[in-house]
Symmetry: C2
Subunit: 208 residues, 2 copies
């Protein structure tokens, strides 16, 4: 019988493995966002995932493996989500302001907090560091690439790469402060408005 996978209640082995791994990894990301890297424990992961300690030990024998894998998954998830949300903008309404809104939505997000926890932790953890070091460059490249597809005429402008890099850094800094001081949102909103105005003007000037 050529198994139709939809009718089968139980999944095949590789499917189960994949599901379990993602479940553990998602629980890890969730735990990082919630308790922070310092409060992070494998016990919390198995609790959130609803599995036993043995299951975790089977797939990720040591804690560092779990964290590194979670970091890679987090990066991949954010990259995929980025393309998706960006493509969600109707081509007719692709303005610089809209693009900035989409970009900012990634910094006002639980997954950003998890990313920050891992980034900071990576400074003191060589293994994790190699994972997260690649991330910063990859984010810059992905952003430039997606932006180039959406705004072909602007992609040729000089200093585009530097400008995008600057925006990413700026948003990172703003989001970081906002994580500890929610009241700063007012001042930060003014900064984001100024940036938006500046860039729309620059884009209009470049388009002549």
């Amino acid at each position: 019988m050529p198994f139709t996978p939809t009718t089968r209640a139980r999944l095949t082995q590789p499917e189960r493995v994949e599901a379990m791994r993602n479940r553990l990894l998602d629980a890890t990301i969730e735990s990082l966002a919630a308790t922070g890297y310092s409060g992070f424990s494998t016990n919390d992961v198995v609790r959130r995932a609803g599995v036993s300690r043995g299951a975790l030990a089977h797939h990720f024998p040591v804690k560092a493996d779990l964290i590194a894998a979670a970091g890679q998954r987090l990066i991949a998830l954010r990259a995929a989500e980025f393309r998706q949300r960006f493509d969600g903008i109707p081509p007719a309404r692709r303005t610089v302001a809209k693009a900035l809104n989409v970009l900012w939505s990634f910094f006002d997000d639980p997954s950003f907090h998890a990313l920050m926890e891992l980034t900071i932790a990576a400074r003191s953890d060589p293994e994790l560091r190699t994972v997260m070091a690649a991330e910063s460059k990859q984010v810059a490249d992905t952003t430039l690439e997606v932006f180039g597809e959406a705004f072909p005429e602007l992609a040729e402008q000089p200093f585009i790469a530097e400008t995008l890099q600057a925006i990413l850094a700026l948003y990172t800094g703003l989001a970081l402060q906002q994580a500890v001081d929610a009241d700063a949102d007012g001042r930060h909103a003014a900064v984001r408005r100024m940036l938006k105005g500046l860039l729309t003007m620059a884009a209009a000037g470049a388009a002549e």
Copy 2:
């Protein structure tokens, strides 16, 4: 010879207390910068300070007290150091580019790493959060104030506060990435150059 009590080998009691507290706090900051918040332990602090566990317990009964106090000291130290370095620039050579160099020197510094560890940790720690939340605003105010003293004519320009806030956030983001990816310095240097050029042009335009 002025009446400095240097001849006295032993210090008076309040002086000893103050010295011990600062010694413990500095060891805490040093430990945070070195091992990160997650790897931080009171044992490491007493080891670095070269004192016993009892001494630490006497001045800071619980760990959270120590961390909060270290955060406050770190902020105060950086603020004082900021004014000092800024005043160190000869008034005749006070250009925007120089000011940016001084500002950046605070983000390329071990104390910045300690500050980031505390900032991230503060997200999951209400007590520390109140300390660090005030920090972000204080940094913005101090920067604006010192900048205003050095460049009185620019301080009246519109969007100065927002611009400074943006620069602080931008530098934070750059320094953060650089902490995990030293190779990014090349790309980041280009961003900083671009920013420097932009701001000197803007300053020249404002001065007419």
